[in-house]
Amino acid sequence: MTSGGSRLVIPLGVATGAALLTGLYTGLVGAPADAVQGEVQRIMYLHVPTVLSAYLAFTVVFVGSVGYLLTRREGWDILAHASAEIGVLFTALTIAAGAIWGKPTWGAWWTWDARITTTTILLLIYLGYLMLRAAVEDRARGARYAAVVGILGFLDIPVIHKSVEWWRTLHQPSSLARGAIDPVFQLPLMVNLAAFALLYAFLLAQRVGVGRLEAEILRRRLEE
């Protein structure tokens, strides 16, 4: 079981490293600086991929949660748990990057911008997911509870989006111009998107591996 996984992990790790380096190069050197925002705009090559990878992660949490509740096979639960941890990490990175971008651009670390607000709520939901797992002693029960939260959380995402968006736009017009992305920026963005997707996959594989080992230890301790 683990041998099949580790055969993938090394090439995956290498590919991830290569992609990240390429992304770093195209983002920092290859692409021109933004006419309006200057150099700080480059952080978008980090910010956008991390948030999209986070959404990918939470989708996988949903899939894993559904899988676990339907089949009660531990593998699904391990997948969901691992993906949630990585999702939380990426979400935190997104918010941090957004703040770093926001300070010079808007003059503030935090604004109640619709996207940042939504992302923060998601962070809180999935942090709650992780805390719940830690708080429940019985493993099977914890997995079940987490799966329920994982499913509800995913279903809440569109509702949160819409409500925060209306909350912002109905109150004051968005000061952020969201025009189409100039093609010259598209390539570095794509490269970094791919790089972070690979990073997600790599981290997921690692974390799932650890989860499998933990489950195996518990199983051995149980068998008598």
Binding site: M131, D156, V164
Partner: protein, 224 residues
């Protein structure tokens, strides 16, 4: 599933609450206190308070709700009554709906009593806006209680339940809070149905989706 069971359970809860009254009185007092405290924190300028009023009202409802929702399952701890409930024939969803109904009725009773206090402290013209306010309160309460009842069942056995319950619940119900506040604001301003309509629709949708999902998820939460 039997409507008779749902009604019997809700009736039992309301009867018990009516007998002891300790929880209801305490919650009422707490809600009024929250309104007062916000007055101290944000006042005494009446214009500022008037602007903040709908938000203060709903924060009051939500904080009180967090205290009140756990009650529904804590009452089942004495004499292992939850075990007794799980032994009855029929769908476990009936247990969820019964608890939800009891919770919604209690919260609505609370809110109905708080509205006059609110009008008193914050000088709000309630009369004309009453039907709209009540509709908003109903939809918001159902949404809040839908997820809250499920999570209360989930956290009832945890040692850290006083912290875990609000931690899990509050991020989930942010859309409810936003919609309820905006809807209340629209009705109080006399802006009428047109402005409040999208918010009420959002609430209705949230209620529908999350009552349904929680209904199915409840089975997984109460089993062992």
């Amino acid at each position: 599933m039997s409507a008779g069971q749902v009604w019997a359970l809700a009736r039992k809860d309301l009867l018990t609450e009516g007998r002891s009254k300790e929880t209801l009185n305490g919650l009422l007092f707490f809600a009024a206190l929250v309104l007062l405290i916000f007055g101290f924190a944000l006042g005494p300028d009446p214009a500022r308070l008037e602007q903040a009023a709908p938000g203060i009202l709903w924060v009051g409802f939500i904080l009180t709700g967090v205290l009140g929702l756990t009650r529904a399952f804590q009452v089942e701890r004495e004499n292992e009554c939850l075990e007794g409930l799980l032994l009855y024939p029929g769908d476990r969803g009936a247990l969820y709906l019964g608890k939800l109904l009891g919770n919604v009725v209690l919260m609505l009773l609370l809110e109905l009593t708080v509205f006059p206090c609110f009008a008193f402290f914050y000088n709000m013209p309630l009369w004309g806006a009453l039907p709209g306010l009540l509709l908003t309160a109903l939809l918001g309460t159902v949404g809040f209680a839908a997820v809250g009842t499920l999570f209360a069942a989930m956290t009832m056995h945890l040692r850290a339940r006083e912290v875990m319950f609000p931690l899990l619940l509050l991020p989930f119900v942010v859309p409810v809070l936003l919609a309820a506040v905006k809807g209340t604001e629209a009705f109080l301003r006399g802006a009428g149905r047109a402005e409040a309509f999208p918010w009420l629709t959002l609430l209705g949708l949230f209620d529908l989706v999350f009552v349904t999902v929680s209904l199915f998820a409840f089975e997984w939460v109460v089993e062992e």
